[in-house]
């Protein structure tokens, strides 16, 4: 496979608006600006972490990339093929290469199907294996995620949250994809179980050279698993950089506030850290603020922040930031 600069996925100006209808004739009265023009690329074999607060458009981004939502506008290139323009069978064939792990392991497994049926379903739907092959493959997949192959005949309710999430991981691997969107795969799990699932994801990545888009709101976990991290706020990207660079030298005031808000499990260090407390709540994505979307809560905002939309620019090699005053923090 020869891809330019090893780029597996390239997103250009992706926009996803959800219309709001009102009244008897269901007239469109507005739209939720869930994702509003984001561009980025993901390299083969890397993990791109996507962080932001709830409602900022992280999940929508993941789903729009996989064409689970039809984007309002923009392009998504996977191996240089534009997914947005694909339809029917062609799109279905591309879907084999990209899969998703969902947030809630209790809601994402059908309670009436056995584990074997759940994991084998993608193979059945895509018609790539015989019944016997599917059985073998399911056993192999259960082994891969460190579950007992005899579990194939059991039902999801017999499993704990961590085990269910492993089943979800096995299902996502069934078609041997190269790209997986992990949508908050661990936030519903207990602390001691989270580490198990994260280690599993890392091992599988090494084994199969997988590429992850890892969506999460837990900044510590994102730092742990990602190579590069992008921070999202109200439907737009505010900062993207290599993991260590972003955590050591964040240039966007929102990233700085977000990082400072994360508690460190060490009382001595925690008491020395300076905490930036943001005032108020995230504004509504139905009427996002003009200009820079963060200006309503920003401590360094000036008059033109409310008018001019800051460009998402490359301020240093590989470090993108959308702030008029990012240079001040360099």
């Amino acid at each position: 496979m020869s891809l330019e600069n090893n780029v597996l996925l390239r997103v250009e100006d992706l926009v996803m608006h959800f219309p709001i209808y009102r009244g008897v004739i269901r007239r469109q009265v507005g739209a939720v600006h869930a994702v509003d023009g984001i561009s980025f690329s993901v390299k083969c074999g890397e993990t791109l972490g996507l962080v932001g607060e709830s409602g900022c458009g992280k999940t929508t981004t993941g789903r729009a990339i996989l064409q689970l939502y039809k984007p309002t506008s923009g392009r998504v290139y996977y191996e240089d093929i534009d997914l947005v323009s694909l339809k029917g069978e062609e799109l279905r064939r591309m879907r084999r290469k990209m899969q998703m792990i969902f947030q809630d392991p209790y809601a994402s497994l059908n309670p009436r199907m056995t584990v074997g049926e759940i994991i084998g379903e993608p193979l059945m739907v895509h018609n790539v294996a015989t019944v016997k092959e599917i059985q073998e493959r399911v056993e192999h997949l259960l082994n891969l995620v460190k579950l007992n192959p005899s579990f194939a005949s059991r039902y999801p309710h017999e499993f704990s949250g961590g085990q269910r999430q492993r089943i979800g991981v096995a299902r996502s691997l069934a078609l041997q994809p190269s790209f997986i969107v992990c949508d908050e795969p661990i936030s519903a799990l207990d602390v001691s179980i989270q580490a198990q699932v994260v280690n599993l994801l890392e091992e599988l990545q090494e084994q199969f050279n997988l590429t992850y888009l890892f969506i999460a709101h837990d900044l510590s976990m994102v730092r742990h698993i990602s190579d590069r991290v992008v921070v999202m706020y109200l439907g737009v990207f505010v900062e993207l950089a290599d993991r260590d660079e972003l955590y050591h030298a964040p240039l966007h005031p929102y990233t700085q506030a977000l990082l400072s808000a994360v508690p460190v499990p060490d009382p001595v260090i925690d008491s020395k850290r300076k905490r930036i407390i943001l005032q108020g709540d995230v504004p509504s994505p139905v009427n996002p603020p003009s200009g820079c979307r963060f200006h309503t809560r920003c401590s360094i905002a000036e008059a033109n922040c409310a008018q001019v939309i800051p460009e998402f620019r490359e301020i240093e090699s590989g470090h993108f930031v959308a702030c008029h005053f990012a240079e001040r923090f360099m």
Partner: protein, 330 residues
Amino acid sequence: MPDIMLDVQGLETQFKTPDGIVYAVNGVSFKLDERETLGVVGESGCGKSVTMLSVLGLIPSPPGKVADGKAFFFGEDLLKMTTEEIRHVRGAQISMVFQDPMTSLNPVLTIGRQLTEPLILHLGMSKKQAETRAVELLEMVGIPSAKERLKDYPHQYSGGMRQRVMIAMALSCNPQILIADEPTTALDVTIQAQIVDLVKRLRDELGMAIIWITHDLGVVAGIAQRVIVMYGGYFIEEAPVKELYAYPTHPYTISLLGSLPRVDENEHQRLCTIEGLPPVLYSKPNACPFAPRCKWAIEQCWNENPKLEQVSSDHRVACWVDTKTRGSRS
């Protein structure tokens, strides 16, 4: 010497389920000093919430039952009180903030109505007085244009604001003890930082004692003075916050701290995992409940459940093993 406000001794709570009796809390004892902040840490199902609910007589019976124990609040045993007597304590002298602010507020009553109710009930205020006080309370927890917002319903508030309302409600009768049960778990990190900051400020202003229940070792590090770690319905470690994070002694505490990624982590290492699952106890164990998951377990661990014992002046641990020498402690 500060006075002991709450002295809980040998508390045991059990639940009758179709699968048998679940031993949720098994003989726990703790004291709470005036103006002290106590953190209670553990995974879901470890009994941390049940312990506090038992103390307040909020365990639904049946199926639950507080089987044994005493809970002295200024010398009076809360567990011996009649329903009527304990109602005067709850909400007035000891109050509680719950995890999910949406389900703990009544959706069909205005915030004003819900906020004035305890004032009228416990403090015997007139409706007018109560409304004035409610406005003060909302202002105290940082809700802008408090007077108008009294007429709003819970759904018109954001998640962070609802939790502020819950805190205002809990503080309305100037309680001596505030029990906060995972108050920030449902919130984003930036909002969590706001709430933690608010509670710390109010604690210093009003001089109350706090019991902060959480699974997040990071949050506890920032707010508590003393921490109790729970596992399988037992207290397994108790120490002042700095001591606990600097010298965690119980294998569970050590592993739990090791399984956390940190936002200030510098080298990438695999996370330590705790294999297996937290237990549900259908009988009182005659082994250490953590033994099946413990890397350090020795023969003694399987034969006898260790008691909480002192290892240094105010550090108590329930473990047979000295993790440094891997031998028995005694």
